[in-house]
């Protein structure tokens, strides 16, 4: 009988591993699917509290999701109606100004190339200016000539992600329940509790970080508008997006604003004002938003966070950096629970 039970447990474990492996393989193999899936998970976590609230008010889950999608669709259309002219102007401005910025960055790199060997000797004697002038047109081509390609990728992701999220919101729980149903009896309770904890932790993390980034982006947008900086929407959106990456993100997020200011031959006072805007945003973030919103949702040591971000960047670029921290916290939580099951669970 024990042998039969062991066989059954083995079959069940293999089935779960097989389903998870197949899902991950498909996500990695098909173009854009991973990005669409990650975005769908983010949308699902963002909308779940609203769907639950509507369910509490008496709506069925399907109706709640449908109503929420229609409301968000209408709101987005309204926002787009107001923002499209401004965004269009900024894109057109950026497109016409970009050659000038490329030339400016090339000049900056050439100047740097002259200055660095003088200051530090031969170790910085690299052809950065020449390399820069080779790389910059490629970036320009990528941004504007290949715009149709980028747009098609974005559009397919932007259609797929909400579609996936729609079904995740309606059927996500029952899909997870069906997967957990296959887990052998011996690990069932632990698996169920682990799934609940991971779900709560990742959900809290996603919602808190997105809210934090949105607030930071709004502060930077308002600050840049006040000091009359160009491309406020792009710069604040970029800063908000980069703010999702702990520690290095806020620094990287501020670079474009400084580059634009330097290339436009802005004065030192202008640079100080930009520095003030980004610093104030970070101060508000660190002093008020993080303690109130993010708190200790992901309890990882700073050194571990940095190592994890580097690994994430190597594996998946910016997306890898953004999802590396929640992924690490999931691994930590899973490891802790498995350890507790194997060592502390049985006395």
């Amino acid at each position: 009988m024990t042998a039969r039970l062991d066989n059954e447990s083995l079959v069940r474990i293999l089935t779960v591993v097989l389903i998870l492996s197949a899902t991950i393989s498909v996500l990695l193999a098909v173009d854009n699917l991973l990005l669409a899936f990650v975005l769908a998970v983010v949308i699902t976590y963002l909308l779940t509290p609203f769907v639950n609230a509507m369910e509490r008010a008496g709506a069925t889950r399907s109706i709640a999701v449908l109503c929420l999608y229609l409301t968000i669709g209408a709101l987005l259309a309204l926002v787009a109606w107001f923002l499209v002219p401004t965004v269009g102007r900024q894109i057109a401005g950026l497109q016409s100004d970009l050659p000038q910025y490329i030339e400016g960055v090339r000049k900056l790199l050439t100047d740097l190339e002259k200055w660095l060997p003088a200051a530090f000797g031969d170790i910085f004697n690299r052809n950065t200016g020449e390399n820069g002038s080779r790389v910059m047109p490629v970036i320009y081509n990528y941004l504007f000539r290949d715009l149709s390609g980028i747009l098609s990728v974005s559009i397919s992701t932007l259609i797929l992600a909400p579609l996936f999220a729609f079904f995740m919101l309606i059927d996500g729980r029952s899909a997870v329940k069906k997967l957990i149903a296959i887990v052998p009896n011996d690990f069932f309770e632990t698996a169920l509790n682990l799934q609940y904890q991971i779900n709560a932790q990742v959900g809290g993390f996603v919602r808190a970080r997105l809210l934090e980034s949105a607030i930071v982006a709004a502060i930077i947008w308002a600050g840049l508008m006040l000091i009359d900086c160009p491309y406020t929407i792009f710069l604040s959106a970029f800063a908000g997006l980069m703010n999702l990456v702990p520690y290095v993100g806020p620094v990287v997020g501020a670079i474009p604003a400084f580059l634009i200011a330097i290339i436009n031959n802005s004065t030192g006072a202008d640079l100080l004002l930009i520095l003030a805007v980004y610093s104030v945003a970070q101060l508000i973030d660190t002093a008020f938003i993080v303690p109130l919103v993010v708190a200790k949702i992901v309890n990882l040591h700073a050194v571990i966070v940095i190592v994890v971000i580097i690994i994430g960047a190597q594996i998946g670029g910016i997306l890898g950096m953004i999802i590396s921290v929640p992924a690490a916290s999931i691994i930590k939580l899973t490891g802790k629970s498995i350890y507790r099951h194997l060592v502390g669970f049985r006395t």
Partner: protein, 181 residues
């Protein structure tokens, strides 16, 4: 094996589960709508003869209701001089519609106080802490009714334990009195 796996996945026999839930103290006050909602949330688990549901000392996360089969509840007792030697004492044998492990629904990382083992092929309905939290989040009214039912069960257990304690005290006093004479 495949059949039990399929039933676990497909959630077969929902009507039958609803009837069992309705008869349980925790879910007796639920409306038909609330009962349908809980039926979709609970977990059906199959255990073979001799298979352990949980062991004494393990961390527990919820309770089980017997849909079919029999469950033995046993506790390990130290025997003889050495603490290593343990003896299993049968506390009770549970039959269909009985439930066990409900303390784990309210305890934080509480450990199982006894071992539960199937003594024939058994089908259990599992209801766990994450399920209770989900119900409280999505249908607070249904969740509160379940919590009231759970409080009633725990109060009844407390009354039974207090009565047993009083009886034991009485027995000890009688023995003391007997020894004194």
């Amino acid at each position: 094996m495949l059949q039990s796996l399929w039933e676990n996945v497909a959630g077969k026999g929902k009507k039958d589960i609803r009837t069992i839930l309705k008869a349980n103290m925790l879910f007796k006050d639920l409306s038909p709508k609330g009962l349908r909602f809980v039926t979709d949330i609970v977990h059906i688990r199959h255990y073979r003869t001799g298979e352990t549901v949980f062991r004494q000392g393990e961390i527990g996360f919820g309770m089980y209701i017997i849909a079919e089969g029999l469950i033995d509840i046993t506790t390990a007792c130290h025997r003889g001089e050495t603490a290593v030697e343990k003896e299993e004492i049968l506390v009770t044998r549970l039959k269909p519609d009985d439930f066990f492990g409900e303390l784990a629904l309210v305890e934080e990382n509480g450990r199982r106080s006894a071992t539960a083992r199937a003594i024939m092929d058994t089908r259990l309905i599992g209801f766990f802490k994450p399920d209770l939290f989900e119900i409280l989040e999505r249908r607070p009214g249904t969740g509160v009714k379940i919590l009231l039912g759970l409080s009633e069960v725990l109060a009844q257990r407390l009354i039974e334990t207090t009565a047993k304690m009083a009886q034991l005290n009485e027995d000890i006093n009688l023995l003391k009195g007997g020894a004194g004479k």
